[in-house]
Symmetry: C2
Subunit: 223 residues, 2 copies
Amino acid sequence: MKKKELIVLQDLLGTNKKIAATIRGELGERGILAVNFMSSPGAGKTSLLERIAERLQATAKIAVIEGDIETERDAERIRAIGVPAWQITTGGACHLEAKMIGKVLPSVDAGIDFLFIENVGNLVCPASYELGEHLRCVLLSTPEGDDKPKKYPKAFTTSDCLVLTKVDLLPYLPFDIEKVKKEALGLNPRLKIFVTSAVTGLGVDDLIGYFRSARQELKDRHA
Amino acid sequence: MKKKELIVLQDLLGTNKKIAATIRGELGERGILAVNFMSSPGAGKTSLLERIAERLQATAKIAVIEGDIETERDAERIRAIGVPAWQITTGGACHLEAKMIGKVLPSVDAGIDFLFIENVGNLVCPASYELGEHLRCVLLSTPEGDDKPKKYPKAFTTSDCLVLTKVDLLPYLPFDIEKVKKEALGLNPRLKIFVTSAVTGLGVDDLIGYFRSARQELKDRHA
């Protein structure tokens, strides 16, 4: 990368980090836990969010921000289960940025408990942009293959949790869960790992429990 | 995007396009058909290339350039079936660029017939960077879901062919082939569409036939 390009990129990342820090602080003050979901296209972010939202909305107020290059499809899916959702269409950009979240936040109900942000489907670029989240989750679906963590390391090194999705397909695929866990933990030993299926519901309650604990810790920190 | 950022991006894309045009011309002169494979991580680019290379190398000389952020894993898989392969590791960058191909080309045997380039797994950014290819193929795997073309349009509008992969998994997935074909052709009516499985070999010969015809046309143009 040329010097000129590098300076522009560093400016962009520096500005993004500052905006993200402000958002994180403000949400924390209000007791709202923000979670950033990142993954390849089609790894099952929206399906997992549907399962989480269906169960969690019985006892907590939640909202979802959907990031996509084009279409309202994901926000429509979330709204269909009765959860408020805002669609950000980036019009070509390969990731969400904190300023995009900042623009949507004034519309989001101030009394929510959890804010889930589904990033653009991309296992590379979103990892470089904090959005003001308190937890970052990378999803990896079984059909993508068990060789991915080392090939796309930043999504794994910057995340708090790894969610293995679509494990209902394991009988039909060559995918070694233990190998992936080992490789991911080798990159990032503090990763919490969840094994899930949006079809059978496996692991969804464990993940909800993890988010609930994280929100309690956030509230304790800001108490 | 700010003006300063936009100018840097336009410079980058303009320079890339010029380098790509030079590469495309030089390969064409030598009768080498270059094919750029783009897709999400884990859509099956390497597995499809293995199947193509195994069959095609009986009657043609081929070489493969592998693009990844980290690791030599994909190049090792291709070398294991006796096909020369060069690994480009971008060290973080989310796509290949023409200048990276230009650096590798002097090492590639001048007498090859087909050069396959496997891009970094990313359904967004690679679409903006020509690599000097004569054909661009976007792969979409059945587990990714049939809603992807309109959500990630540029990969579909800039490609010559769409390869649906992993169709052996269709019995276990909600994926409507006809819906995807219709949506993709709505975005780009000139797309050739192939339905394939690297597990069963379905569609691989049709794809090889398509590449052979394209190479013949290329040679005729340069005769």
